[in-house]
Every structure is written in structure tokens, then in C-alpha cells.
Amino acid sequence: MIQLFNVTKSYGKESVALREMTVHVEKGEFVYVTGPSGAGKTTFLSMLYGATKPTRGQILINGTNITRMTGRQIPYLRRKIGVVFQDFKLLGSRTVYENVAFALEAQGKKRYEVSKKVYQALKEVGLEHRLQRRPIELSGGEQQRIAIARALVVDPLILLADEPSGNLDQEVTYEIMELFKHAHARGTTVLLATHDHSLYKRFPKRVLGLEDGRLIMDHQP
């Protein structure tokens, strides 16, 4: 599903975010990407959804070389990938429903299809009763659930989560992890960047360890 071949990303001569990284992730796998701050976790994920291009090396997603994609092709790549961030990235001026519907509208889906899928997605994350509320009126955990619903509503092949529990307490984090596990159980490939050791101890899966931009560990439980 995801193949990286000797991928290097540098910002100028001094700053190298990723060095010669080669890694393969199979379809339907659940993988943690770990490492201290500045190890290159965010750069690694952002290259997978086309937000940054590698300086050297090739990245294949579902057999397509995304390093050769033009700006026009990137949106179509992103439609296959759901992304969840630490800071949720929700639109404060829109309702919960609108925030989730946005992902489907961007793909040009019909109105009736949008409302049906949005309701289902919000039901899965347990927020179907909060449709007309604004994100700011909800707790951090609930906001992250909206972001997860937005990522999953498009039935993505891959779900990328960059420190999704960074702003949440332990109990809420475990609830959020259950949502990722459900998505994984349905066949979605999940990559979750975290520096929280307790997560992969409690929910053991494959772990990719990064340090100073290098892949220093690839551990299967």
C-alpha cells in the first residue's frame, strides 16, 4: 500500500528531516510511527498526503508514484487518505455537520448522499446528537472525534494521524484509539505518529522508530 525508497527530505544544507528512509507498509496494516520531537514523524506523514515532496527518493501509494504528481493530481490522492491532526484543524465558524460534510462536498458528492454519510460517520464516533453545535462548544475529545469522522467519512484507503492524542487526557486517548481500531478492522491502513509509549504497549502493533530523520527501528509485536 505504502512504499518508500531511499527517501530524503532536507530543508537547505543544514536541516535534514528524513534520511535515506526505505519502508513498506502493507494494505490493512496498523503502524505506529514513533520518536522524539524533531525525529521526522510529521515530515514522514506529510509526504504521504502530498503536503511536502521528498528531496530524493520515491514514494508509491497503492502503486502510484506520488513524487511525480502535479498540483492538479494531489487533490485526487488526498481523497483516498484521511488525515487527523493534534490540533484537530476544524472550522470554528461551521457546525459539526458542516465540518464533516465539507470533505464530501469537496469531492463533489450529491447532497442526499452527503447527509446520509455524515450522519453515519458522526454516529460511529458518537456525536450524532451534536450535529448543529459548533466545535468550540465541545470538549477536546469531541473535537478530535469530529476530525476523525471527517477523515473517515470518505472511506479512505489510508488513515494518517499525527499525534492525535497530544492534546487529550489518557481516558479520552483510549476512546479515540478505539475509533482507529474500528477503522483498521474495516480494512483501512492506519499510520499513527505518537511519542506516547503507553499507546503501543496497550494496543500493540508494528512500530517504526525514527530518530534524527533515520529509521532506527522496525518492530513487529
Partner: protein
């Protein structure tokens, strides 16, 4: 397709409702910019109108050595009227000339009592077409009239004409410089305001790109919004300009002692008003387009 258009319009309107302060700031900035440029344009067209009414004074007077007989006069007038630069030819007989002179003297007309009507020569007053009311046009007419030996003197206010032409040239130059300055200032302010309004909404643009929206999908509602704001600004500036013109300019000019007699200030013509509104739409549209380029990068 129709559903897409409806969706884009709905989103543009919803965006405007959701960001009332940003939206009003953009509309007001554009309205002020448009009103400034339009006011300047209004001043220019009125000064031009005034200059063109002054230019009606540009005429050539050809004095006869001997007044022509009635049989000679009609073909002569027709011949001069056929000159390409000539609009109208009026024959002023000796009697008519004396009568005009007496009128001009007013209370002192008594001085002319007993004076014979032969005192003043008969003449042709040649008025030029609007486009020929300049030095070149006058010189062309004079050179043609000089070929006719029946005229012994030609007057055409050469010094006045030169000063008038210099004034019109200066007016055009100042108009061009000031007009360009106003236009650039307006464009600069408008594009920066739109940039700021988009900057405040950069999260929205980022999230749209993140969920796989194409560039066109992201841009169209913003462009529609810009065009709609531009339309409102155009109408606002037109309304403001119309009201100020009616309530302030017309009244104050009528009571101003320097205002030339018979000068009636004109407002923008129908097509010029339409151009102002269309300029508003274009300003909003292009301002949004250039600013979006900066923020929407895929």
C-alpha cells in the same frame, strides 16, 4: 453542473454571512476606492466639458476688402463651408458690424452718432468643427482663406489659442498622472484588504485542500464572493456619488461666483455608470484571484 453552480453560490453567500466584519471591510474599501477614482473621472469630464465650451470661441474672422455683392456672397459662403474643418459660416455685413459695436458700447453708443456705416468692414465669421478647434485646424482654414484675394485681413486670436492649447495639454498630463496614481492606490488598498480577509480565513483554505478539494473548487466560491462584494461596492459608490453630486456639487457650484455662466456640471452618463459597477465587479474578482494565488497552493 447546475447543482455545482447552486452549491458555489450557496457557499459564497454563507461565507459572507459567516464573516460579516471581513465582508463589510472589503465592500467599504472597494466602494471608497471606486468612489475616489470615479470622483476624479467626474472632475476630468466636467473640466473637459468646460474646456470644450471655451473652445467654441475658436473661430476665424475674415474681413472683406470690398463687401461682396449678393450674387457673389452665396457661392463664397458655400465654398468656405465646404472646407473640411469648417462647421458654420456667418456673414456679418457692415451694418450688422456697426450694430454689434453699438451694442457692445452700451451707454456710450452715442459716440457713434453721425458715423457712417462704412466705418467697419464686412466679414465672414468662420466657426470650426470641434475636432479642428486647435492650432493646426485654424492654420489649415487660414491658409485656404488667404488664397482668396477678396479678404484683406484674417483674425484668429493666435495668442489665446496657444495659451488654451497649453492649458488643455497640462490638463491631460495632470489628469493622466493623478488618474494613474488614484487607480494604483485603489488597486493596492483593495488587493491588500482582500489579502487580509483571506489571511483571516487561511485555515479554511488549508482544510479544503487537505480534504481533497481541487483548486477550482476552493477558488470559485471565493471569486463569486469577491465579484458579489465588488458589485455591492460599485452600486454603493455610484449611489454615494449620485447623492453627493445632487445635494452638494450642483447646489454649491450654482452659488459659486467663479462658476462660468451657463456651466451645468454633468454626472456620469448611463454607460459610464455601468462601467463603474462593472469595474467594481472586476476589482472584487481580480483582487480575490490574485490574493487566492498566494494562499491556495496545491
Amino acid at each position: 453542473m447546475l447543482e455545482n453552480i447552486r452549491y458555489f453560490i450557496r457557499r459564497a453567500l454563507r461565507n459572507m454571512r459567516q464573516w460579516p466584519v471581513l465582508c463589510s471591510a472589503a465592500i467599504l474599501t472597494m466602494a471608497v476606492a471606486l468612489a475616489t477614482v470615479a470622483t476624479f473621472f467626474l472632475v476630468v469630464i466636467n473640466i473637459q466639458g468646460l474646456a470644450s465650451s471655451w473652445s467654441e470661441e475658436v473661430q476665424v474672422v475674415a474681413y472683406f476688402q470690398q463687401p461682396p455683392s449678393r450674387n457673389q456672397l452665396a457661392p463664397l459662403v458655400r465654398k468656405v463651408e465646404a472646407f473640411p474643418d469648417v462647421k458654420q459660416v456667418i456673414y456679418v455685413s457692415k451694418t450688422e458690424a456697426l450694430k454689434r459695436f453699438k451694442t457692445r458700447l452700451g451707454d456710450d453708443a452715442g459716440l457713434l452718432e453721425g458715423v457712417s456705416r462704412d466705418l467697419l468692414p464686412a466679414s465672414l465669421e468662420v466657426t470650426l468643427k470641434a475636432k479642428s478647434r486647435n492650432r493646426a485646424g485654424v492654420e489649415r482654414v487660414v491658409s485656404l482663406l488667404k488664397k482668396d484675394s477678396r479678404f484683406n485681413d484674417l483674425r484668429f486670436g493666435q495668442e489665446w489659442l496657444e495659451r488654451f492649447e497649453n492649458f488643455v495639454d497640462l490638463l491631460k498630463f495632470v489628469g493622466l498622472i493623478l488618474g494613474s496614481f488614484f487607480l494604483f492606490a485603489a488597486l493596492f488598498i483593495v488587493s491588500n484588504t482582500i489579502k487580509l480577509t483571506l489571511y483571516a480565513r487561511r485555515d479554511e483554505l488549508e482544510i479544503m485542500a487537505l480534504v481533497g478539494a481541487t483548486k477550482r473548487f476552493i477558488q470559485i466560491p471565493f471569486l463569486l464572493e469577491g465579484a458579489l462584494q465588488g458589485l455591492i461596492s460599485g452600486l454603493l459608490s455610484l449611489g454615494f456619488l449620485g447623492l453627493s453630486f445632487k445635494l452638494l456639487v450642483q447646489k454649491s457650484l450654482q452659488s459659486f461666483w467663479l462658476t462660468p455662466v451657463g456651466f451645468d456640471p454633468v454626472f456620469l452618463a448611463g454607460n459610464q455608470q455601468l462601467i463603474l459597477v462593472v469595474c467594481g465587479v472586476m476589482l472584487g474578482l481580480l483582487g480575490s484571484l490574485f490574493s487566492l494565488r498566494k494562499f491556495v497552493r496545491l
